[in-house]
Amino acid sequence: KEITVRDALNSALDEEMAADPKVFLMGEEVGEYQGAYKISRGLLEKYGPDRIRDTPITEAGFTGIGVGAAYYGLKPVVEFMTFNFAMQAIDHIINSAAKSNYMSAGQITVPIVFRGPNGAAAGVAAQHSHCFAAWYASCPGLKVLAPYSSEDARGLLKAAIRDPDPVVFLENELLYGESFPVSADALDSNFCLPIGKAKIEREGKNVTITAFSKMVGYALEAAEILSKDGISAEVINLRSIRPLDRDAITSSVKKTSRLVTVEEGFPQHGIGAEICTVVNEECFDYLDAPVERIAGADVPMAYAANLERMSVPQVDDIVRAAKRACYRSVPVA
C-alpha cells in the first residue's frame, strides 16, 4: 500500500490524539482552514476546537503558550506554517523549552513537538527557504527529527509526540504530496520509530552517502545511477539529526571508506560539517578519500527558477561527488 507523507503525518496526529487526551494541536490555520498544507485535514471535525486550536499570527506568543502548557503536563503539537516563522519564537524553543529540564534539575519536563515544513520549497525565495536543521540540532535539550518517507513521517511523528522531551520535527513541503509504499506494520497504530537511529535506505560497499529529508530521495537516485557505473553506494537516511546516529555513520564508513554528505541547508556549520568531523574523530584511519560535502549554495535563495536550481543540490552533484570520492575521474564543469 502507498500513502502520501501528508496522510502519514495526518494519521500519526490523529492516532496520537485518539490515544492520549493530553495531545492537542495548535497553530495558524490548523483548524477551520484544515491546515495551510492540509496536514490537519479533518482533525477539527473529529477533536473539536479545544484540541485543534487556531491561533493568531503571533508565533512568539503561541509558542510560549504551548511550552507553558507542556510544563503543566499537556502534550502540545505546535505547528509552524513554516519553520522560517519559528524564528520569531526561537527564544521559547531554546530558552523556555530546551533548557528547562536542566535548569530545574528535572522538575520541569517539556513534552512538546514543534513541527512544520523546513528548508527550501519551490519559488518562495530567500525568506521562506531557510533550513534550520543545524541550528536546532546544535542545542542540547532538543531532539531534532527529519523524516523522508511516509513511514518515517508516521513513525517519527508518533515517537516525537510520545517522547517526554521537546522535539523539533522538520518536514519538507515538497514531500507532502509524495507517495511511498508502507508496510502493514507501519500502518498499525502502535507503530513507532526510535529517535536517534538512522536507517540504511540502501546497502552498498564503495561509498557512503548520508542525507535527510528530501535529499534522501536524491541520494537514492544518485545511488541508482552510480550502480550503473559499478559503484555500490550505501545510502543513510539520518532521520534523527539530534541525537545523531554516529554509530550508523561510522560503521558504514568503516565499510566503504568513502563518504559524501548531502543537505539542502547552508554548508558552514552544517550537518555535513558535523558528520565529517565525527568520521574524522571516530574512523579517521578508515577514510580513503576526503569527505565530500554537498550542500545548499552559500547564498540566500533566489526566486528565479534557474538560480533556485543552482542553490540546492541536484542528483548530478551527488553522483559527481561520489565518483570523486571513489577516485573516478570526472570532468570539471
Partner: protein, 362 residues
C-alpha cells in the same frame, strides 16, 4: 449613486488636538481621472498575474491586491516620492504606485532579468529604492518595525518626510508592532501605521484572531483613524492629514477598511472561509474602481466612453508589458553569487558542489 458622493467620515480613536481632522465633504476634482486609470492598471495587472500563475509562468507564493487598489492609489495621491513606503508580500500594486513599471513587475513575477529585483526576489520582494519603496517583506509583521526605523532615519536626517508602514489585520496582532509603536511614540517618529484591514488573515476572520479588532485603537496612547479603504478620496485625505500630523506629533494609525477579492495566495480559492455572497456584495456595493467611475460620470469629468477607452488602453498596456517581460531572459547564472554582500571582500563562496562551482565575491 448618491452614496458615492460623500466619503464616510473617518472614525477617530482619540482626540487629536490642534490639527483639523480630514474633511469628508471635499469634492473630487479633475485628478479623479488618474485614480481611475491607476486603479484599472493595478486591477488588470493582478488579474493577468492570476492567469500567468495558472500558466505556470509565475511560481511559489503570489498574493494579489485586487479589491484594495484604493489604498495604494489614495495614499500616493497624498504624498511624494520622498516619503517612504514599506509593506508586506502583497506588494505588486504598491510598487506600481511608487512609479514602478508593469514590465518590471511582470518580469519579476516571472523571475526574469528585467524584474525590479532582477528576478531574485519574486512576487513578495519588490523594491524601488529610488522612489523610497523599501519592499516587499515576507515575514508577517516585520515590516512595521522596519518602517518605524526608516522614519527614525528620516527624522535623524532632519528630512520633512514620513514613512507609511503597511500591514494586514492578521499582522496587527504581532507583538513587534506594539514594541515598535511604543518606541515610535516615545521618540515622536514620523511614521504612519497603515493597517489594511481586509478582514481576513489567510483563512482567519479578524474576530477569530483579535479579541479587539478595532485596529485603529490599538496603541491606546497613539491616535488612530478608521478610514473607508475602498474610497480613494477618503484614503487620500486621511493620508494627507496623517502626514501632517505625524511630522509634528509622532506616530498615528490609519485603519483602512478594505477587501481582497482573490484568495490569500494562489493556493487559496478564497471561498471556504467566506461566502461568495459576501464577495459579490462588496464588488457590487464598494468596488473602488466603480466608485470612482460613478463619481467621474456624476461630476461629468469624463464620459463613459472615455473611461471605456481608458480601460482598453490599460488592457493593451498590460498585455504589451507581459509580452515584453516574457522576452527578458532568466538571470545570468553569475547572479547566483551577486549581492550576497554589498562588499564581498574577495571571499570565495560555494555552490552545491564546491569542487565545481565557486565564485569570488566582489
Amino acid at each position: 449613486t448618491r452614496r458615492y458622493l460623500r466619503s464616510k467620515p473617518p472614525s477617530l480613536s482619540q482626540d487629536i488636538r490642534s490639527t483639523p481632522l480630514p474633511d469628508p465633504s471635499i469634492r473630487p476634482r479633475r485628478n479623479s481621472s488618474p485614480f481611475f486609470r491607476d486603479m484599472s492598471i493595478m486591477r488588470r495587472m493582478e488579474i493577468a498575474a492570476d492567469s500567468l500563475y495558472k500558466a505556470k509562468l509565475i511560481r511559489g507564493f503570489c498574493h494579489l491586491y485586487d479589491g484594495q487598489e484604493a489604498v495604494a492609489v489614495g495614499m500616493e495621491a497624498a504624498i511624494t516620492k520622498r516619503d517612504a513606503i514599506i509593506t508586506a508580500y502583497r506588494d505588486h500594486c504598491i510598487f506600481l504606485g511608487r512609479g514602478g513599471t508593469l514590465v518590471e513587475a511582470f518580469a519579476e513575477l516571472m523571475g526574469r532579468r528585467a524584474g525590479c529585483s532582477k528576478g531574485k526576489g519574486g512576487s513578495m520582494h519588490f523594491y524601488k529604492k529610488d522612489a523610497e519603496f523599501y519592499g516587499g517583506h515576507g515575514i508577517v509583521g516585520a515590516q512595521v518595525p522596519l518602517g518605524c526605523g526608516i522614519a527614525f532615519a528620516q527624522k535623524y536626517s532632519k528630512e520633512d518626510t514620513v514613512t507609511f508602514a503597511m500591514y494586514g489585520d492578521g499582522a496587527a496582532n504581532q507583538g513587534q508592532l506594539f514594541e515598535a509603536l511604543n518606541m515610535s511614540a516615545l521618540w515622536d517618529l514620523p511614521v504612519i501605521l497603515v493597517c489594511e484591514n481586509n478582514h481576513y488573515g489567510m483563512g482567519t476572520a479578524e474576530w477569530r484572531a483579535a479579541k479587539s479588532p478595532a485596529y485603529y485603537k490599538r496603541g491606546d496612547y497613539v491616535p488612530g483613524l478608521k478610514v473607508d479603504g475602498m474610497d480613494t478620496l477618503a484614503v487620500k485625505q486621511a493620508c494627507k492629514f496623517a502626514k501632517e500630523y505625524v511630522l509634528k506629533n509622532g506616530p498615528m494609525i490609519l485603519e483602512m477598511d478594505t477587501y481582497r477579492y482573490h484568495g490569500h495566495s494562489m493556493s487559496d480559492p478564497g471561498s471556504t472561509y467566506r461566502s461568495r455572497d459576501e464577495i459579490s456584495g462588496i464588488r457590487q456595493e464598494r468596488d473602488p474602481i466603480e466608485r470612482v467611475r460613478k463619481l467621474i460620470l456624476y461630476h461629468e469629468l469624463a464620459t463613459a466612453a472615455e473611461l471605456k477607452d481608458t480601460e482598453k488602453e490599460v488592457r493593451k498596456g498590460v498585455d504589451d508589458a507581459i509580452a515584453q517581460a516574457k522576452e527578458s531572459p532568466m538571470p545570468d547564472p553569475s547572479e547566483l553569487f551577486a549581492n550576497v554582500y554589498s562588499k564581498g571582500l574577495g571571499t570565495v563562496a560555494f555552490g552545491a558542489d564546491r569542487k565545481v562551482l565557486k565564485a569570488t565575491l566582489p
